[in-house]
């Protein structure tokens, strides 16, 4: 695989993750536990959509179709998002745990991409870093609050963590050309990212009195990066593309 193809693969998985988790999290709009949280969570969902648009624009510069076409005309098997991103919102405990696991991975991914040899990507990474940093602060504050809240809040968070864990490990599914990305200094690779992520979230979760599942039970759920998705993705895409399907020239 040449470095352009490897780069595109990297960009697609980043952008698709952001688009899909952004859409998922926007499902909480109007339903958040309190007004302030509703606004914060919706605002972060919008951040994710904005970030995905920038990454799709980079793909456009590399010869792929424009952002709207890419976002709204593909079916599930053509998406590269991790399965973690597409799972239904569940209860707020699950949405917060996913937010925590996903955003710390994204934070570290963008931290690494700030020094990417592919300059346009390095610039985008720097531009969005503040947004993503806030997302991790929001996630960690909530996880800490509920992990140490009371028995009920702790057990709900722990159950969600157990459920989300192997999906979260699936975020780091190795791409077809990790060696090329690493050799060309485009990206540090999924293995290194996963190690960094574990090193960061382990003490944070411990500090919130939550326990990472025992290593013997780790079984990363891969497949998302190559178009194998859960039954939940296609209905999400059908809803997301409803307006576009009726009128592709609709502007809003």
């Amino acid at each position: 695989m040449d470095s352009i193809a490897a780069l595109k693969e990297l960009l697609y998985k980043i952008a698709d993750d952001q688009l899909i988790i952004g859409h998922r999290n926007s499902e909480w709009t109007g339903l958040g536990p309190i007004l302030e949280e509703d606004i914060a969570f919706s605002s972060m969902a919008q951040d994710k959509l904005g970030q995905s648009e920038h990454i799709y624009n980079l793909l456009n510069q590399l010869g792929e179709a424009d952002a709207d076409t890419v976002a709204f005309t593909r079916n599930a098997p053509q998406f590269h998002c991790s399965q973690l991103a597409e799972l239904p919102i569940g209860g707020y405990d699950f949405s917060l745990i996913r937010h925590f696991l996903f955003d710390f991975a994204e934070y570290l991914r963008f931290e690494a991409l700030k020094t990417s040899a592919y300059q346009p990507l390095a610039q985008v990474a720097k531009k969005f870093f503040g947004e993503i940093k806030y997302h991790t602060m929001h996630a960690n504050t909530w996880v800490h609050q509920l992990g140490k809240g009371n028995e009920e809040s702790n057990s709900k968070m722990q159950e969600s963590l157990n459920y989300a864990w192997n999906y979260a490990l699936g975020m780091f599914e190795p791409g077809p050309a990790e060696d090329v990305l690493i050799k060309e200094n485009i990206f540090i690779g999924e293995k290194a990212l996963q190690d960094q992520w574990l090193a960061v979230i382990t003490p944070l979760l411990e500090n919130s009195e939550l326990t990472i599942p025992a290593k013997a039970d780790w079984a990363p759920i891969y497949g998302g990066r190559t178009g194998t998705h859960t039954e939940y993705l296609q209905p999400l895409l059908s809803e997301m593309t409803e307006v576009y399907t009726i009128d592709p020239s609709a502007d809003w």
Binding site: E36, A40, T141
Partner: protein
């Protein structure tokens, strides 16, 4: 949660509390019906004053800061944010607002009426002279 007691407004928002509505449970923080409120102060640039911009509901200062960022700094240029529990704010009574109406014939209270510019000018010239000499 909100019991139907004759359309009374229930709120922890101090502005509504100050409206002296009768009944309701405006301050039932202990009952966990509402979070407490925090007053939010926004600084647009380092070195400038923090300005009061409004309130957020939150269970603690950390979460109040998270919410203040999204409610009050999402669209403005921001350098820093403060939050303080609304309960820590003391205020004057509106019925005593006559204490602010002081008689105006006291020019000596107005710094603009001091004639100091000539003295400042003279001091500056002295300073300049002494640095020139060294």
């Amino acid at each position: 949660m909100a019991e139907d007691n004759n359309n009374e407004i229930e709120s922890l928002d101090p502005r509504i509390s100050r409206a002296s509505l009768t009944g309701g449970n405006h301050n039932d923080v202990d009952g966990l019906i509402h979070f407490q409120t925090f007053e939010v102060f926004h600084q647009s640039k380092r070195g400038t004053h923090h300005k009061h911009v409004g309130i957020v509901h939150a269970p603690n200062p950390d979460m109040a800061l998270l919410y203040a960022k999204e409610q009050y700094a999402r669209r403005e240029k921001t350098a820093n944010i403060w939050v303080a529990p609304s309960s820590s704010i003391s205020s004057t009574e509106y019925e005593d607002d006559d204490i602010f109406s002081t008689t105006p014939e006291k020019l000596y209270r107005n710094p603009a009426s001091y004639k100091v510019m000539d003295r400042i000018q003279a001091w500056k010239e002295r300073e300049k002279k002494s640095t020139d000499e060294t």
